[in-house]
């Protein structure tokens, strides 16, 4: 977290390069996450519904509670770590709208994580909320990554 106290990141070429490398890996994670989720859990409302509750037509068994809780638990940890580090970099380089963007990112991620167990235990209605908030936080995160890249290449940060 040393980068949070460096006065001019542009002048510190090593730290700037480290942050760019880090941002690139977060971008890779975010994009890969979409592909992995597409092939495993599902990224459309129908696919998520089939995973959670099964599908007789497609001969898919519903996910058991134990596997679901393990999946949810793991997701929470990875998302919180990714978003904490990404927001730390973004807050350091961004000047305007950083509170709004950070709020949008965190709230949409929290909604997606809250809606998963609500969908599993209470109502299918929450699947739509999960899918929308899942894509929302991914889009906001990708925006933050590219914005941070751009700012790190700017004259002074």
């Amino acid at each position: 977290m040393k980068f949070t106290v460096i006065k001019n990141l542009q002048k510190d070429s090593a730290m700037s390069l480290i942050l760019k490398g880090f941002l690139f890996f977060i971008l890779l994670y975010i994009v890969s996450d979409i592909f992995v989720m597409k092939s495993s859990f599902g990224i459309s409302a129908d696919a998520v519904s089939s995973t959670l509750f099964g599908s007789e037509e497609a001969y898919i068994d519903p996910i058991n509670e134990s596997s679901f809780l393990e999946f949810w638990h793991t997701q929470i940890f990875f998302i919180m770590m990714i978003l904490l580090t990404l927001s730390a970099v973004f807050i350091r380089v961004a000047k305007r709208s950083r509170n709004i963007i950070t709020n949008a990112l965190m709230i949409s991620a929290l909604i997606s994580l809250f809606s998963l167990p609500l969908a599993f235990y209470t109502s299918k209605f929450f699947i739509d909320i999960y899918v929308i908030s899942y894509f929302l936080w991914h889009l906001v995160a990708i925006y933050m990554i590219f914005y941070s890249f751009w700012k790190l290449n700017a004259r002074s940060v």
Binding site: L69, H73, M80, L84, I91, R98, M106, L113, F114
Partner: protein
Amino acid sequence: MQEAYKLSILYYLAFSLLLIVSALMLFEHKIGFSFSGVLEYYTGNEEKFITAQSAGGILKIVLPHIFVFGLFAMVLLHFLVFADLRYKENITLLVYAAFIVALLEIFTPFMIIGGFEFFAYMKLFSFFTFLALLLYISWLLFQSITYS
């Protein structure tokens, strides 16, 4: 500390709370909060068709948790350094307690399958104490951020 960083930490605390809730749900579902539940989960029960855990099986579960417990505790605890100064006197004690209890939580299953049934109590104690410590640290941070 900048306002935006405070916001980021507050959200981290919210995620931590969610992680604690999911850990409780997972523990309750897979193991249970009773002495017999913990014992049966690790040493098995023929009548209930619960197979005993092997050291290799436990190690598979423990391995990611070693890294995750360390990282999670480190991130949460290091925020205390940025928090209000009056909490700094207790930081050393909290750091020791958090890491020692986390170690106990991780390694007690090996003692249970080694025949030391008493460690089933230790498993429950360390699990709840670790979560309680995380909640206490989160509360200190929350107070420090919101009232500063």
